[in-house]
């Protein structure tokens, strides 16, 4: 799987990794049972400290997205994290209102927000674009 990190992004590196893995699972690009790169492989591939990769994996494991099998590697979990559906829906409704309020304050209309959502949907399904990273 392709990951890209940007050290000068506001989000810490470990959160950038977490977000991309969660998005890949949500978008079906990573399926249950898929093996993730090891700490070492990913740290060398992205040229970042191995402890940063470990922190991202530890948090994802605590959230139930991935699991580490001793001696075999790290895998996407068989069952998605348990969800309280009604609670999740409430949470999403609240987030949707926040998003819309933010958009209207910025002078966007509903159509433009829907377009932003569709773009985001495509990005989640497709993954990050492979751009040459600025050094």
């Amino acid at each position: 799987m392709y990951l890209a990190v940007n050290p000068s992004d506001e989000l810490p590196l470990y959160r950038q990794i977490m977000r991309q893995i969660v998005e890949a699972i949500a978008g079906g690009r990573l399926k249950s049972g898929d093996r993730l790169a090891s700490h070492r492989e990913l740290s060398e591939q992205l040229v970042i400290a191995p402890l940063t990769v470990k922190r991202a994996y530890d948090e994802l494991e605590a959230l139930g997205f991935i699991e580490t099998q001793r001696g075999r590697g790290t895998f996407v979990c068989a069952s998605p994290p348990p969800v309280d559906r009604a609670g999740r829906l409430d949470h999403l409704r609240l987030e949707a209102r926040k998003l819309l309020a933010d958009a209207y304050l910025s002078g966007l209309d509903l159509g433009e927000v829907v377009k932003i959502l569709k773009d985001a949907d495509r990005e989640i399904a497709r993954g990050p674009r492979r751009e040459k990273e600025k050094v």
Binding site: E10, L11, E44, A49
Partner: protein
């Protein structure tokens, strides 16, 4: 577990009454990678030279693998690697001779790693060191610093003057060493993106003191910058009294305050303590934070 590197209240000066390091304390464990930041003349090179035993502290103590680098210089140097921006390599010897010399000095020399790095850097073995480009000379220095598989790698502005590709290669080699051998790395750098990329931890030196020593992720999440209108506080001390305030400096028509906490909590703290509205708090990248913490008044 004994820390790989330990500074205990270390002081050092070159001239009487002009301290370069004052009361510096920190420790570095196996596999840890820490970026050493600070302005020019903040004491970074003195700190690294003290760790290597090239300088002895005037006060306090330095321990490397639990040993004193001045009392056990050979044992300590056998287990550390060092590269600096202004390192002098013998200009008249060839790359092959330089490497052969280091191979002879270090019993733990790893010939497979030597071949691997020679290939990766495509260093011309027959060339004289004096004829190499700046980047190639630094690569030769790195090769000599890592092929005995040191437990501690000290890098003093190793990427200074290198182009982006050479810098990235340098970081890659360092990361691989840390991954494979558990090498701890302390590196000073003015390249913030390099520090943000591989430094799990940041140690900020300012006027010979450790100003900040924290995990980079924690810095990103737990420290922010508050911009307070200049008129709302008579002087910096009033703002500095606010809980969680690390530093205040005037910048044009505002005060800039570095605050512990998320932007939301910092804003609440300042609003309560100063009794005014209109305070903006934002997260800032490491470079801006660095400038806010050690930069002068504007």
């Amino acid at each position: 577990m004994t820390p790989v590197l330990e500074f205990l209240n270390v002081s050092r000066s070159y001239k009487k009454g002009v301290p370069v390091l004052t009361g510096v304390s920190f420790s570095l464990n196996e596999s840890e990678i820490a970026g050493l930041l600070g302005r020019n003349a903040a004491g970074k090179t003195t700190l690294i030279h003290t760790a290597m035993g090239l300088l002895s502290p005037d006060g306090g103590a330095v321990r490397v693998f639990g040993l004193s680098p001045t009392e056990d210089p050979v044992e300590v140097k056998r287990r550390i690697g060092f590269v600096s921006e202004d390192q002098v390599l013998p200009p008249g010897s060839s790359v092959a001779e330089l490497i052969a010399f280091h191979r002879y000095l270090f019993s733990a020399w790893d010939q497979a790693l030597e071949r691997q790095l020679l290939d990766r850097f495509s260093l011309p073995r027959g060339s004289r060191i004096g004829k190499l480009s700046k980047g190639q000379a630094r690569q030769a220095a790195l090769l000599c610093a890592v092929c005995h598989r040191p437990e501690l790698l000290l890098l003093d502005e190793p990427a200074g003057g290198l182009d982006a590709v050479a810098r990235r290669e340098f970081l890659e080699t360092s990361i691989q060493l840390s991954n494979r051998e558990g090498t701890a790395i302390l590196f000073s750098s003015h390249h913030m993106t390099d520090v943000e990329r591989i430094g799990g931890r940041v140690i900020l030196l300012d006027q010979g003191k450790v100003r900040l020593d924290r995990d980079l992720d924690r810095i990103r999440e737990d420290i922010c910058l508050a911009v307070v209108p200049r008129a709302s506080a008579p002087d910096a001390a009033v703002i500095e009294r606010t809980a969680g305030c690390l530093r205040v400096r005037p910048v044009f028509d505002d005060w800039h305050a570095v605050m512990e906490g998320t932007p939301e909590t910092a804003r609440r703290q300042l609003t309560d303590s100063l009794g005014i509205d209109g305070i903006r708090c934002v997260r800032v990248p490491l470079e801006d934070l660095f400038i806010e913490l050690v930069g002068g008044e504007r």
